[in-house]
Symmetry: C2
Subunit: 134 residues, 2 copies
DNA sequence: TCCAGACCCTAGAACAGTTCCAAGCCCGGA
DNA sequence: TCCGGGCTTGGAACTGTTCTAGGGTCTGGA
């Protein structure tokens, strides 16, 4: 039993059905940054009758519950990261899209964190609320 | 005549047609981060017979030429930033998507750079090439 | 145990953003 | 003027995501 599934099971405002449990199982681990279609594939390997709509619904619900973070990838498809607890950032391969979590507090990445990647550029985005929307 | 249009005009591998000039005109300025449909709208205000396909083609070509940077926004649509010269990062409103350029070298944003925004979180992405793709 | 209501799941349709395609247009060079 | 290559166009196609309608499942109360 993983912490994620434990947390979900103990919520009384959210039913942990078989489908949802399988999706949570798939989303468990370090360096997991799956796109929806990959989640669907892996979930179906465990429970073949999971539907696409359920995967999308469940992923969105888990994001709303704060259990996943949605990442927008350059290829246009969203990826989901279960590592919400600790502050961390991302190392992304510009060719294949592979991602690694890195914990860096500044935009210069320590060599020990390179994971063998050849770093090309850094992109910093500040998520904020503008005066008009405040 | 703006520097961007000047640069484009002087390329001999790329014809600066009326449509392309209008699109470049629309993309000129500071804090310009337009999505394709906005570029189309504004371009048509100047030259009504510009087609959607041309806007997409031209934006992609300008990105390939290094004259624009493509930004992936959480809402799924790409935005284009003409500010390619100087290293800078982005301040994004989570509600309306408004963006501002900021020049920050670390993930703590100086108050002078806040543009009145209420900063919620910082996201750092290292663009890299993984060992398999190298 | 049975029932009702709430919640959940499914397949397929619908949607939005982007790209592809075939055809016609335009410009520069011969 | 004619020709060829590149550019543009509208519409179709494609892809990722969301919506919809209908049926199923679970839970608590009678």
């Amino acid at each position: 039993m993983t912490p994620l599934i434990d947390r979900l099971r103990s919520r009384d405002d959210w039913r942990l059905t078989a489908q949802r449990r399988v999706i949570a199982e798939v989303m468990t681990g370090q360096h997991v940054h799956l796109a929806a279609h990959e989640v669907l594939e892996r979930a179906r390997a465990i429970l073949p009758e999971v539907s696409q709509a359920t995967v999308y619904n469940t992923l969105n619900e888990l994001v709303a519950l704060g259990e996943l973070v949605e990442l927008t990838h350059a290829d246009g498809r969203k990826r989901y990261d279960p590592n919400v607890g600790e502050r961390h950032h991302h190392l992304v391969c510009v060719d294949c899209g592979t991602m690694r979590d890195v914990d860096a507090d500044d935009p210069s990445l320590a060599a020990a964190q390179h994971h063998g990647f050849d770093v090309l550029s850094v992109e910093v985005t500040f998520r904020a609320r503008c005066p008009d929307c405040a």
